[in-house]
Symmetry: C2
Subunit: 341 residues, 2 copies
Amino acid sequence: MQTATPTGAPPNPGIVFDMLFAHQRTAALKAAIDLDVFRAVGEGPGDVKSIARQCSASERGIRILCDYLCINGILAKEGASYRHTPTSAVFLDPRSPASIASTAQFLGAPQIGEPFEHLAEIVRNGHTSLPGSGSVEPENPMWVVFAESMAPMMAPVAGPLAELALEGKTGPVRVLDIAAGHGVFGIACARQNPQAQITAVDWAAVLNVAEKNAQKAGVADRFTKLAGSAFDVEYGGPYDAALLTNFLHHFDPPTCIGLLKKVRAALKKGGRAVTLEFVPNDDRISPPMAAGFSITMLATTGSGDAYTFRELKAMYEAAGFSGVTEHPLAPSPETAVVGLA
Amino acid sequence: MQTATPTGAPPNPGIVFDMLFAHQRTAALKAAIDLDVFRAVGEGPGDVKSIARQCSASERGIRILCDYLCINGILAKEGASYRHTPTSAVFLDPRSPASIASTAQFLGAPQIGEPFEHLAEIVRNGHTSLPGSGSVEPENPMWVVFAESMAPMMAPVAGPLAELALEGKTGPVRVLDIAAGHGVFGIACARQNPQAQITAVDWAAVLNVAEKNAQKAGVADRFTKLAGSAFDVEYGGPYDAALLTNFLHHFDPPTCIGLLKKVRAALKKGGRAVTLEFVPNDDRISPPMAAGFSITMLATTGSGDAYTFRELKAMYEAAGFSGVTEHPLAPSPETAVVGLA
């Protein structure tokens, strides 16, 4: 959605003011989710007075907030009444099974947002202003919030990623799900292959969330928890596949290579290490969402980044993997990278 | 720059994620201005190492920040070097006379940004979370920051607004500039009519900024300070014209009508009251920037709003004005409204 201006475009102060006001857009969407505005709009009738009553909020506040959501393409307005756009109906109404409203809990969490209030200092120093190693500090409770809220964002890519990991393999397979979080990637493997055994690595409190998701999905009997740091725990094995989803971007290349070596040692010969990442092109400024992810890593980690495929391939190869391939998972902004042990 | 989605557009989670990440855009632009990145890019040579040295910042931070500014159309990239877009050259390089970089000081001030961290609460209660009457609390120091930083945003409309106020009148005229701030509107009148006398009303600390600007413009001998609240001070008069720029939006209609009555009493018969405002269409959701301004008023005031022309005309008429007309000042997002006493 972030759009680059053609180099030859005339000077436009609107771009500058739009950026200076952009924080309001995040605040407005978070407020609407917190107040349950999208449920109220979905239930109708959609006039200001009704929504205000349904949300226990003021009419002035609801009118201005809903107008602002219309301006930003999130809601629609007919006369003085608000109604869903296709986007808000599918992705923001809590009654929709595809709702991603919960992701605001993680993406809007103080530990994600607060460093951006000190971004000049972070750029000056070159690393997050969060204490210690930032978001990857051991047992950081933000990953419980992540596990509890981010599964809906990952649901559309879980199936395709599991396919890449299993590659049609039937019969008994063992899958190592590193930094499992909500666990949806390992669970997708277990669903695709009824004999797949999943071993999920993460902090203990996070694994409890993944375990509940495995129970809901009916695969708890093939789901094993391995609590601790992915850098420290004994993986066991050997495994047929290892998943490294949204994990490498938190670390610098030497750390990633060290981890990939450890993963390779736990894989069978020819086993597959599958990462899911925001992978910008070599210019590092396209495509917008993948490339733009690096500023989140600047703000919240000590040395993480959004790595190009060239860089990820080099890390894989330095760790002894071969046959490294990239697999864009459009319409998701993320890309899977597969390497063979 | 905010774009409404056509109602029939397919569901798009990208709109949702773009809003959840939008706060990063504000943080990135503020950080780049604070670190003087735009001066460094303008001076060249534009590689990461040079910019980092010029800005006393880390190379990791500068690379990721500058890439992010490219993604957002603010900078351009050639190979590994950054250079100005036409927009950043004209509006963000501090060496440019049209630079609006200083506006980040006001638009990014804690008193403007902080309420958005409590927007759900504000929508619930219907008024700002700032103490007292929010941004219009007496002697609020944020208006000194406003006066010191926002003149560049207003420079392009000051001339056209002064033309509407003076309407080609030559010879001695008296102009009352209410909530003068930086003073650029009254100063523009003084420049257009060499016999115009300006009386500027604002808090004393703010008027000191306006006075300096009047000195710089060479019109200090026709510039008189009238310190205090626009609601309380005696205006004197009678005046040929009164300016009410970006002021009415802070208050509810009865308060605006009361003020307009006071203004009318200080004008000569047929004198002109000229407001500058963000004036949305009757649908209140277009055009985007004027309509979107109401959320700033929700967040920072007790009862302010972005009023439609219909509403402003009704307020003018309730205060006894006639012949009320609107004058869009494109490409500015603002509109002038003129009423005759």
